[in-house]
């Protein structure tokens, strides 16, 4: 498919049924405020638009169409019922500033979600506001800074972060005015405790940790780490991106963390939308509760037992770290997570982590048996695990990138590659609990087939993909260097198609 939206545009073509009032004249606004030329938007019929975007959609891999074992991303089934119920007209048409009386349904659901997330975190207070994991991290670090500031320790501006951490962790620390101190990981995939002990001190704001870590293993010494950091006056932040591995089995609060964010677009099955929106609610220990981002849903019960829900704001929470969004975050996404949690319950949540872990360990065992090399042998996989394709790279000159691209031609989305950076030729694989064993077996077969190709006809792998199996025939491997060297970021007239 090679038709540009803009090339298909024709001057004067438009959809009159989308003109709300064709008789309205030009407004009496002084011309210095007005635009001289209409904006260069495409001029298309409705069929052209529908066809264009429908066909675009068909060019994507997605959970609804392919196995998508992208490590750290928890690409599991996004139940359609969550989508449908969150889109009910009463929810969708409500203005954010409308009287709370007109929003008791949505507020009650959000309140229940707060309660459920607090229980899952093992922490007493929750704010749903952050709009993604990274903003949840921001909220967490900003709260930690506010906490220290409130105690007269504004000098605590150093954030300890393991080297395996996701990029958002250090970037967040910087955005909150902290400096980052990296803590190394040892060969078994655990944080180097000695190094941590050496790093803490009076400038320590806290530690940001993902557990299970991005290496696909559970950090066994987490309790000890909490002791070290707390003893030094720092607080602990839990990056909840990997919660799908342990939800219901172990709680951040019980592990000693002071704040946590959830990625509802991972653990709680809200769709990722090709890049978002997600939501990154935060839960905190009581010492951080006064600093939660605003607004938070409050429940009041009157004498007759009638419950009423409303928003806590600046007046109620004067020490709050502040606002993060115009209104109250990605409420529509949060409603999806609420429906999901109400459907699975406590037992279901544990079943999620059980089966996510079973799938990962099964896949790891089968790939091991097929001769692939796991990065941390002897460790249990969590909900994900890492292969290093270094042996294959050394033997056949075929890299993790090449394996990834060739997998696409099998109709399988590639795992996460080259992250975490510490593992050479890294293949971070997360099958999720919603995939069948049969699908995992197909993945193993594809990997074996690709390695066989790598040995026998490496060019086939090195030049993959030649064509991905999407409607219209797909595309071959794209030149990333060219894209960055001479950025072509918007369509211009007379551009080659």
């Amino acid at each position: 498919m090679n038709d540009s939206l803009f090339a298909a545009s024709s001057p004067g073509r438009h959809n009159p049924h989308h003109l709300p009032d064709p008789r309205v004249g030009v407004p009496e606004i002084p011309s210095r405020f007005l635009r001289a030329q209409p904006p260069q938007l495409p001029q298309l019929s409705e069929l052209q638009v529908v066809r264009h975007f429908t066909r675009l959609s068909q060019l994507n891999f997605s959970v609804d169409t392919q196995f998508y074992p992208l490590g750290s991303c928890t690409m599991k089934y996004n139940p359609r019922i969550c989508q449908v119920l969150a889109s009910l007209p009463g929810f969708v048409h409500r203005h954010p500033l409308a009287a709370v009386e007109s929003g008791q349904g949505v507020l009650r659901s959000l309140f229940e979600l707060q309660e459920m997330l607090g229980e899952i975190a093992g922490m007493p207070a929750v704010s749903l506001v952050p709009m993604a994991g990274a903003q949840g991290e921001f909220a967490g670090v900003a709260m930690i800074r506010a906490y220290h500031r409130a105690r007269g320790e504004d000098g605590r501006r150093e954030m300890l972060i393991p080297d395996a951490a996701h990029g958002t962790n250090p970037a967040t620390a910087t955005m909150c005015g902290c400096t980052v101190r990296e803590i190394p990981t040892n060969a078994r995939g655990d944080v180097d405790l000695e190094a941590l002990a050496r790093a803490v001190g009076p400038r320590t704001a806290g530690l940001m940790l993902t557990n299970p870590s991005t290496l696909g293993v559970f950090e066994r010494q987490v309790a000890r780490m909490a002791e070290i950091v707390h003893a030094a006056g720092g607080l602990l932040y839990y990056d909840g991106a990997n919660l799908n591995a342990v939800a219901g089995r172990v709680r951040p609060g019980d592990m000693g963390f002071d704040a946590v964010h959830f990625n509802v677009h991972k653990t709680f099955a809200t769709p990722h939308g090709g890049g978002g929106p997600g939501a990154g609610p935060v839960a905190v220990a009581s010492r951080l509760a006064p600093f939660l981002p605003l607004p938070v849903v409050k429940k009041e019960v009157d004498e007759s037992g009638r419950e009423r829900f409303s928003w806590l704001d600046e007046a109620d929470l004067p020490s709050s770290m502040g606002r993060l969004s115009t209104f109250a975050g990605n409420i529509g996404v949060l409603l999806r997570a609420h429906v999901y949690l109400r459907m699975i319950g406590a037992e279901g949540l544990q079943r999620v982590s059980d089966m996510a872990t079973l799938n990962a360990n099964y896949l790891m065992a089968r790939l091991c048996a097929a001769g692939f090399t796991v990065a941390f042998p002897g460790r249990r996989a969590t909900h994900e695990f890492i292969l290093t394709l270094k042996p294959e790279a050394d033997a056949f000159g075929v890299t993790a990138l090449d394996f990834a691209k060739r997998l696409l031609e099998f109709g399988i989305h590639a795992p996460t590659i080259y992250f975490p950076a510490l593992v050479p030729e890294c293949f971070l694989i997360e099958p999720t609990e919603t995939e069948t064993r049969e699908t995992l077996d197909q993945f193993v077969e594809a990997m074996i087939a690709i390695r066989h190709e790598a040995a026998t006809q490496p060019q086939r792998v090195l030049t993959a993909p030649q064509s991905v199996p999407v409607a219209g025939g797909g595309i071959g491997r794209l030149d990333a260097t060219r894209a960055a060297r001479k950025p072509d970021l918007i369509w211009k007239e007379n551009q080659p198609r």
Binding site: L41, G273, T326, V339, I344, N361, Y362, A369, P487
Partner: protein, 454 residues
């Protein structure tokens, strides 16, 4: 369990392949003392039961006939927008890291960037930020990085949405940046460019200019831009994208144009949803490109010379640059840009202009009808877009509460954010409000103001 395919035979065979005695064995690395108790969550509900529950809740919700704007606007959303945006391949894809398997999302983002850049008259745009307020926060940080006076003041008019200002505050506080609020002309409800003379001799890093401003009034964007550019400051325009169907785009303000344009994309086909998900958009002139936060899509080629699209300029981003990234943003509001792209494509320039003109006309009618009611006066004079401020002779809270009971969300109370505007509310009418709706509001308000007399 819902959504889990494993039969007990599957589990047994998989455990055997792993060589584990049971599921618990797989969790043996978790120290015993950390194990969680059985969680206290509500009993699970089947699909039929949760459906009934949520439908009951939603049936009680909604905002009736709504005249609130204040940063979120009810527009007609063509049916095709979400019928297509809701397709599983858009909904359930991840961020397009594997370009060859994500050409749908990538090409769409490239087209989205193009449309937003064209709308704002900028050279480039990113693939979205969380929302308007946090987008302004990012724009301000970007403006400072790009500024000739990075250590200078950041000037933000009080006519910028109060929540946007609050978020900028949140995002700058820990960075020790010097954010200064510029007061507005109490008669005109906008910045008097002469006010800025006071900052003539201090270094200014950036100036934020809202258009239309929070009160719906049009700022003197040309004069403000020229002044700021003269100071070596970066100019950030915060705009309502629908208004750009009619209004001069930020890229053409003053002599040189603003440097950055941002705003909330909600009006472009995104439902109100009590506040989100919406999306922030961010566009800029070429020199600032590498300071832009967020994802950017570029066009490139495959080995056979076929055009294709890919995430590019990633050296700005957290996953490459980590602590040195332009921002921590990772997941953005992708799906909302799908809807906005379809919306803009369906409307085209003629449609967008008509929506904007109709909004303006309806707001004008509304203000005329309301101010004809005794006890209701208009604050601020001058050109406006689709919102305006009116003052009651009475306290606003009980009036609005009474209106709400009668099914009308009458407007946004200004008293809390602007103590000097106690008794005033901000009202809005978009193209979705008919003449009958406007009259109903006026009649009801007139009745409410009357009944409560004394």
């Amino acid at each position: 369990m819902p959504f889990i395919p494993h039969t007990s035979a599957d589990i047994d065979q998989m455990l055997a392949a792993i060589g584990a005695a049971g599921i618990n064995t797989l969790f043996e690395e978790i120290p015993l003392e950390l194990r969680a108790p059985v969680l206290n969550l509500p009993e699970p509900l089947g699909e039929m039961a949760i459906g009934r529950l949520m439908r009951e809740r939603a049936d009680g919700d909604g905002s009736g006939l709504c005249f609130i704007g204040a940063g979120a606007y009810e527009h007609h959303i063509p049916a095709a927008v979400w019928e297509i945006a809701g397709r599983g391949e858009f909904l359930t894809a991840y961020t397009p890291y594997q370009a060859e398997a994500s050409q749908g999302t990538l090409r769409l983002l490239y087209e989205f960037q193009t449309m937003m850049a064209n709308l704002t008259a900028m050279d480039a745009g990113n693939a979205s930020l969380y929302d308007g307020a946090s987008g302004l926060g990012e724009a301000v940080l970007m403006a400072v990085r790009a500024s000739a006076n990075p250590g200078g003041k950041i000037l933000i008019p009080a006519t910028v949405h109060p929540h946007y200002r609050a978020v900028v505050h949140t995002m700058t506080r820990d960075l020790d940046l010097d954010v200064v609020e510029i007061p507005f002309d109490p008669l005109a409800g906008r910045i008097d460019p002469h006010t800025l003379v006071g900052y003539q001799n201090t270094p200014v890093a950036a100036l934020v200019i809202p258009q239309p401003n929070f009160f719906g009034m049009l700022e003197e964007v040309d004069a403000l831009t020229d002044w700021a550019k003269g100071q070596g400051a970066t100019v950030v325009g915060v705009v309502n994208p629908i208004s750009l169907g009619l209004l001069k785009p930020p890229g053409l303000w003053g002599q040189t144009g603003a440097d950055i344009a941002c705003g909330d994309g909600q009006p472009l086909g995104i439902p109100l949803s009590s506040g989100g998900p919406y999306f922030g958009f961010l566009c800029c002139k070429h020199p600032l490109l590498r300071q832009m936060p967020g994802r950017i899509v570029g066009r490139t080629e495959d080995g056979q010379g076929r055009s294709g699209f890919i995430l590019t300029l990633q050296a700005r981003e957290q996953h490459i640059r980590r602590a040195k990234a332009t921002s921590n943003i990772c997941t953005n509001q992708g799906l909302m840009t799908v809807a906005a792209s379809i919306y803009l494509s369906l409307l085209g320039p003629a449609g967008l202009a008509n929506v904007a003109a109709t909004c303006h006309a309806r707001a004008r009618s509304l203000l005329e009808l309301l101010t004809a009611i005794p006890g209701v006066t208009r604050l601020f004079s001058g050109p406006f877009f689709h919102e305006g401020v009116v003052r009651f002779a009475k306290p606003t809270a009980p009036v609005l509460a009474q209106l709400a009971r009668l099914g009308i969300q009458g407007g946004y109370r200004l008293g809390r954010a602007f103590p000097q505007l106690d008794k005033a509310i901000l009202v809005c009418a978009t193209e979705t409000r008919t003449d009958v709706d406007l009259q109903l509001y006026a009649d009801t308000l007139s009745w409410v103001l009357n009944v409560k007399e004394g």
